[in-house]
């Protein structure tokens, strides 16, 4: 016999007004949970909420000192400092959001065992406090950039909204996936820490895409092998045939190119700060080919890849979460 829980007995009609009421109630619950989590996060600390603003600033200071002060790295892009800051702020959001949302389910065992509501509310509520901090940090970056005259404001600033939405969706998709698995496998937490470390270097936080293309010999290496006749399905479409040394790191390039975090950070820099080095535009216009004289990263095929990755991750995350949410109350 199938197991079902109906909301109404036969003959009952579920009015759309009732559904609207339910929606309103859950929106309210999400907000209340987010507000109390926000308050709880900063109790028992002297500086309180200030920490969330202080942390990216301190990371920025360290990174800037090491890369610019110590290694004298210049990536040739405009306003390297402010670009770095924007990258760090964006990355901090992503890292904090996934990190705290991962424990949203396991950390609310009491609530889940005793009250009914859609479990995804807990994950979304947990992400909201990171999102709020991120928006404040973005405003601060903007103000600093204006103050230092390191910004070229243009109409492209409107793209900030869809880009933030994309990044938030990505973070939610990953959070749903992680939080659902974290209930039974706490190993996920350690694994994600390691993966985040890898992602940090693969997301262009400390350097722009232009820099990668100019400096990365791995890219130079790609084209030649392809020209030499190797039929790598993805690679063949990605890179036109030219004469360069054999590739050893083709997979790394492709991964970086498929990384939506890299794409959002790069496009945010473009939309907010400088017309230079936008990921999406480079792909569309074939501008990448000009930047890199050896390989042609100008195939429009690449354009939708980061967006498709986001859609894929959100779908997998939501489905995993839905399947596992049925037994959260029992598993916890």
């Amino acid at each position: 016999m199938p197991a079902t829980v109906d909301s109404g007995l036969p003959g009952a009609t579920a009015g759309s007004a009732a559904q609207l009421n339910t929606f309103r109630h859950y929106r309210h619950l999400t907000l209340e949970l987010a507000i109390s989590q926000f308050k709880l996060r900063y109790t028992q600390s002297v500086l309180g909420y200030f920490w969330s603003l202080l942390k990216p600033a301190m990371i920025f200071a360290i990174t800037f000192l090491i890369f610019v002060g110590l290694f004298k790295i210049k990536d040739g892009t405009q306003y390297y400092g402010i670009q770095l800051l924007l990258g760090i702020v964006t990355w901090t959001f992503f890292a904090e959001c996934t990190g705290s949302s991962m424990q949203a389910i396991a950390g609310s065992a009491g609530l889940i065992r005793k009250a009914y509501f859609p479990r995804s509310i807990l994950v979304i509520a947990a992400s909201m406090s990171s999102l709020f901090t991120f928006l404040i940090n973005l405003t601060i970056v903007f103000v600093i950039a204006v103050g230092l005259h390191q910004i070229d404001i243009g109409l492209r600033i409107v793209f900030v909204i869809p880009l933030l939405l994309e990044l938030y969706l990505l973070a939610i998709g990953i959070s749903l996936f992680l939080s659902a698995l974290f209930v039974q496998f706490h190993d996920i937490g350690h694994l994600w820490d390691v993966l985040m470390n890898l992602l940090f270097y693969g997301s262009g936080v400390m350097f722009s895409l232009t820099y990668v293309l100019q400096r990365a010999h791995l890219v130079l290496a790609v084209g030649q092998t392809l020209a030499a006749g190797q039929k790598l399905a993805v690679g063949a479409k990605l890179f036109g045939g030219t004469t360069v040394p054999p590739p050893s790191n083709l997979w790394a390039v492709i991964l970086v190119c498929c990384n939506p975090i890299m794409q959002t950070i790069e496009d945010l820099r473009h939309a907010l700060l400088t017309p230079q080095a936008p990921w999406t535009e480079l792909v569309v216009t074939g501008h990448l080919a000009a930047v890199n004289q050896y390989a042609h990263l100008d195939d429009p095929w690449l354009l939708p890849v980061p967006f498709l990755v986001v859609v894929l991750i959100v779908t997998v995350g939501a489905l995993t979460f839905r399947a596992r949410a049925r037994t959260f109350a029992e598993d916890l």
Partner: protein, 423 residues
């Protein structure tokens, strides 16, 4: 559709729920690494078996049964917290989404913040909460503590806050799990007053409780669960009476008066008996091969008692005695040299219970060491149900360990008594 059909609030058909409980409860990393192969071993606990019933709108229903009978599981399925494995649940009307008082309370938040957080879980809107705020605080008598953190509240204050908030939830069907077990006498009185109000308003209430008197007082009818099965469904007074008979409770609540199941001179009396798992938690559903402790209390009623012995029988539900265990001589002194009024606890640990799936009980007797006189004998002192993960036949699980050793040639011959026939 008839008129009575339409008045139904809850309709449950053939509901079943199983839990898979990992046999290996240890969670240290080292243990998990060394025992990773056994991590997938589970025992199945049938929490609910084919339960069907209906609750008409506006009725008070009590769910009673022993610990582990499936009461709370049933309530959690009705509240949509658990999903059933089989069967159908239909509910008409808005169900309270919570089971206990103070759901979502956080000790680090103030009373005010907790009201808004917990209120949201209860389904109250922000505007509504603002409007009701003074009333909630007033009812809880906490006007001076509105902005104090909950962790600084006494448990009585916390319960008052939780209760005055909970009664504002405007669900048509209320589910309550042991709400009567908390608070002092005056708080319980408040509870009952609110219940009377619910009754007048014609709300449907499903109540899980151990307080049989409360069931008699407030519930129109009661459901009795036993090992996941619905064994009685009827008038509250009749069902509670049946439950009392089953567990040997007298109508006045005093335990064990059934002469047929209990006899003896009562020079030493049994004060209680229970079954515990390895963590010391009461558990009447041990798994095959699991650790089980039978624990019983005694009290000496007569100075003339010198030494006494404790005997425990494990009995299958069909009456077959499976084992008899007697307190060894070496332990006599510990119970023997006591005065009238002295009491103590006797434990009988079974490291790996070999019994297979089925219903059993423990019979206990305290008897004089010298004359063998029966001081107190009690049949079915503890009823328990062994849960087997299946795949075994026969009467017991001897707990044998298998291994396979490949060899070049066959090295195992026959025992000597077969030597002649084989050659």
């Amino acid at each position: 559709m008839t008129a009575t059909d339409r008045a139904l609030a809850i309709k449950v058909e053939n509901l079943s729920k199983r839990f898979r409980i990992p046999l290996d409860r240890s969670s240290t990393l080292k243990h998990r690494l060394t025992h990773w192969r056994s991590a997938s071993r589970y025992r199945t606990l049938e929490a609910l078996r084919d339960v069907s019933f209906e609750v008409p709108a506006g009725e008070f229903t009590g769910i009673i049964g022993h610990n582990g009978s499936g009461k709370s599981t049933l309530l959690k399925i009705l509240a949509r917290i658990y999903r059933p494995d089989a069967g159908r649940v239909a509910i008409e009307g808005k169900v309270s989404p919570f089971l206990e008082l103070g759901v979502g309370f956080n000790p680090e938040l103030t009373a005010r913040e907790n009201i808004f957080l917990s209120g949201a879980i209860l389904g109250l809107g922000r505007v509504e909460l603002h409007r009701l705020f003074e009333e909630i605080i007033g009812f809880a008598e906490l006007e001076q503590f509105v902005d104090h953190k909950l962790k600084n509240f006494s448990s009585g204050m916390e319960v008052r806050l939780a209760f005055s908030l909970a009664i504002q939830a405007h669900a048509e069907i209320l589910m309550m799990d042991e709400v009567l077990a908390v608070g002092d006498a005056s708080f319980q009185q408040k509870c009952f007053d609110v219940f009377k109000g619910y009754k007048r308003e014609g709300r449907t209430v499903v109540l899980v409780t151990h307080e049989l008197s409360a069931v008699n007082q407030y519930c129109d009818r009661a459901l009795l669960l036993d090992h996941g099965r619905l064994v009685a469904d009827g008038l509250a007074t009749e069902v509670t009476a049946q439950y009392r008979r089953a567990i040997g409770l007298a109508a006045d609540g005093s335990r064990l008066s059934d002469e047929v199941e209990r006899w003896g001179s009562r020079d030493v009396v049994l004060t209680g008996a229970r079954m515990l798992d390895e963590r010391g938690v009461e558990d009447c559903n041990p798994p095959t091969g699991g650790f089980t402790r039978v624990e019983l209390g005694y009290q000496i009623q007569n100075d003339s008692v010198a030494d006494f012995v404790c005997v425990i029988w494990l009995v299958r539900d069909d009456g077959q005695v499976l084992a008899e265990a007697r307190l060894p001589v070496s332990q006599y002194a510990q119970v023997g040299s006591s005065q009238r009024g002295a009491s103590g606890t006797i434990r009988y640990d079974i490291p790996e219970i070999p019994l297979l799936d089925g219903g059993y009980s423990v019979n206990i007797e305290l008897q004089g060491r010298r004359d063998g006189a029966t001081y107190d004998h009690l049949n079915h002192a503890v009823r328990f149900h062994v849960v087997d993960k299946g795949g075994r036949g026969g009467l017991i699980d001897p707990g044998g360990v298998w291994s396979v050793v490949p060899t070049e040639q066959p090295v195992v011959g026959w025992p000597d008594q077969f030597a002649a026939t084989q050659q």
